[in-house]
Symmetry: C2
Subunit: 373 residues, 2 copies
């Protein structure tokens, strides 16, 4: 049982792969938080050059009583490093430390660290236990929950990976204090996402509390993280391997992935691309007759107020829409070359569908020309 | 339902990951054999430079009516190519052909092709369906069944991989006609393995039929493949992810992996290393008081008669036993630095245990000095 005085928990129900999300303050430094994680002779904290100096010692201290050896692997920071080469440095370290099949990996950092560490855990000796310790808002509300792990390929984001569930997710809100403003906003993109796809009342709450969230008020952050995780837990619990429903969590991501791939990974933050991608997906929903202009305006406003881009980048001066379409055709949701979009209906539900190229082209041209005020 | 006039089937019971092993002649050229494999817009046959010219067209012909596009990826042949670089060439090809989440991969070849293709299927877009079409005896009786996939790391064999089950395994005995003698013997090592760990009557049968097997008599091969798959299916069905029982299938593999890694992958065939490793494991079992000298002699004789090495190679002229021990300590079965061996008791059952270094050293020295007659 986790201690309950300084944290809230959200359960993820996936049969024998079920686990708990712990949300609160002071968690990294509390050994009791980790008391249900499997024992082993060694643990490995995987982090990056930005986060490790801030938090790795605190986490290592909490694990010292439980594991005879606590090793650290420090990766370079950034989406550009979510690749084979860096993944291999994790395997090199694990083998260099003679880590075995019971060794527990701890992913301490943002989405990149979580995705690549989770994939390393999925593959090392065909699977070792791992724990997500997300230190960015984006990772706390989205990427650390649900078991999607992986790396990027030059031809597409997250093209290589595994569904592999962590044993525990620890969201220590204290770590958000050191988060750069730009990354806070990127995380808010994924928070905002849960409104249009699942809970319009939550969208109302976000609109009312956006100032408090940007000011990093702990109570506001705690609610945003908890409600986001609850919605994600509900969706993932119904469709762990994304055979259907789970795909709605990718609202804004089809356009967003094209932006990230087209500009080169790392140019825009993932959350920035998703923020802009949601505006584009809302515009597509409007052109398909699912929402009206006022809903598009509402979503555009909240994205902009979260200090996220609402104007799409031009990816190719001559054939911009073609470039977007080509990039979206290799999206994982595409089937037989048909791009599948997550669209919303304005009542807090979302669905997947294809769309005529002409409509998609119009959305791309309109979104690239849109003026930020 | 599979056609039954020219094949036998062995079911693998793993809940929603259950599948069938089809064993027979003329299977590659029969579209009906593949009728239960999921449909998709494309299929990809992954093979190697040796096997593709012999059998890829035959398989492609059987798939042509079911998939609009049947692509081929041809890898270089050999254990030395079971690595990241070659795995990435599969991903490059899949993305280059715009393969989606429903694309079915067909692994046409031996253990290397099966392991790397299975791992590619496990990881591509976090998992696509795949079919094993093993064309070597070793792959038909062992590596294609049970869902172990992966690649090697310079510091250890199969260190990176996944448990990922195929949708179907097709063992076409016709493909064994073109198998080099050395690979036929390597496959017999894994056939022999099933006797001491699970079925002494099968060991008797092998001893009586070794001549027929070496002469590639179809009826003998069919029985050897079927009985081997039945034993493996039974073990895997009880312990899919190797938390216990399944490890007995690694009889001879702890020593064998050290031989392969110490000589450099590809120097000895996997089955050759396993053959010699079984002799070493039998000697260790004897030193632990589990079997007598006559059992060791019996196993040594059948391994030798199968034209497999029974003398272990010297891996280091000065510190040979240390080198073996260091290589075995990174074996996946090791825990906290303790090497775990599969030992046999002479009655057709096996178990896992550690052993004092002194005993292991004695086995290594004795096995390296043993004279082949």
């Amino acid at each position: 049982m986790l201690p309950t005085d300084h944290l809230q928990t959200v359960p993820i129900s996936l049969g024998d792969r079920s686990y708990t999300i712990a949300i609160g303050t002071g968690l990294l430094g509390d050994p009791a938080v980790f008391q249900d994680v499997p024992q082993a002779s060694s643990a490995v904290i995987v982090s990056n050059t930005t986060v490790a100096p801030l938090y790795a010692q605190r986490l290592a201290g909490s694990l010292a009583g439980r594991y005879a050896a606590v090793h650290q692997v420090v990766l370079p920071d950034g989406e550009a490093f979510k690749n084979w080469e860096i993944l291999n440095t994790i395997f090199d370290a694990l083998l260099g430390h003679a880590c075995d099949r019971k060794t527990v990996l701890f992913a301490l950092g943002g989405g990149v660290v979580g995705d690549i560490t989770g994939f390393a855990a999925a593959c090392y000796m065909r699977g070792v236990p791992f724990v997500q310790v997300p230190t960015t808002l984006l990772a706390q509300v989205d990427s650390s929950v649900g078991g999607k792990t992986g790396i990027n390929h030059p031809l597409g984001k997250n093209m290589v990976g595994a569904f592999y569930q962590p044993r525990l997710v620890v969201c220590d809100l204290d770590t958000l204090r050191t988060l750069p403003d730009r990354e806070l906003s990127a995380g808010l993109a994924e928070v905002i996402k849960y409104g249009p796809i699942a809970d319009l009342a939550f969208l109302d709450w976000i609109e009312r509390n956006l100032g408090a969230l940007l000011a990093r008020e702990p109570a506001a952050l705690a609610h945003a993280v908890k409600r986001s995780c609850e919605i994600k837990a509900s969706v993932v619990g119904q469709d762990e391997r994304e055979s259907g429903l789970r795909a709605i969590l990718n609202f804004g991501h089809t356009f967003g992935h094209a932006i990230e791939a087209g500009l080169g990974y790392g140019e825009w933050l993932h959350g920035e691309a998703v923020g802009c991608g949601m505006v584009m997906a809302a515009r597509l929903s409007q052109r398909l007759g699912l929402v009206d202009a006022s809903f598009v305006r509402r979503l555009t406003d909240v994205v902009r107020r979260a200090r996220l881009p609402v104007t799409a980048p031009v990816l190719d001066a001559e054939d911009n829409a073609d470039r977007y379409l080509a990039l979206m055709r290799v999206d994982k949701k595409a089937e037989g070359g048909e791009i599948r979009f997550v669209v919303v209906d304005g009542s807090g539900t979302a669905s997947m569908r294809g769309a005529p190229d002409a409509l998609v082209r119009a959305v791309i041209e309109e979104s690239c020309a849109l003026t930020t005020v």
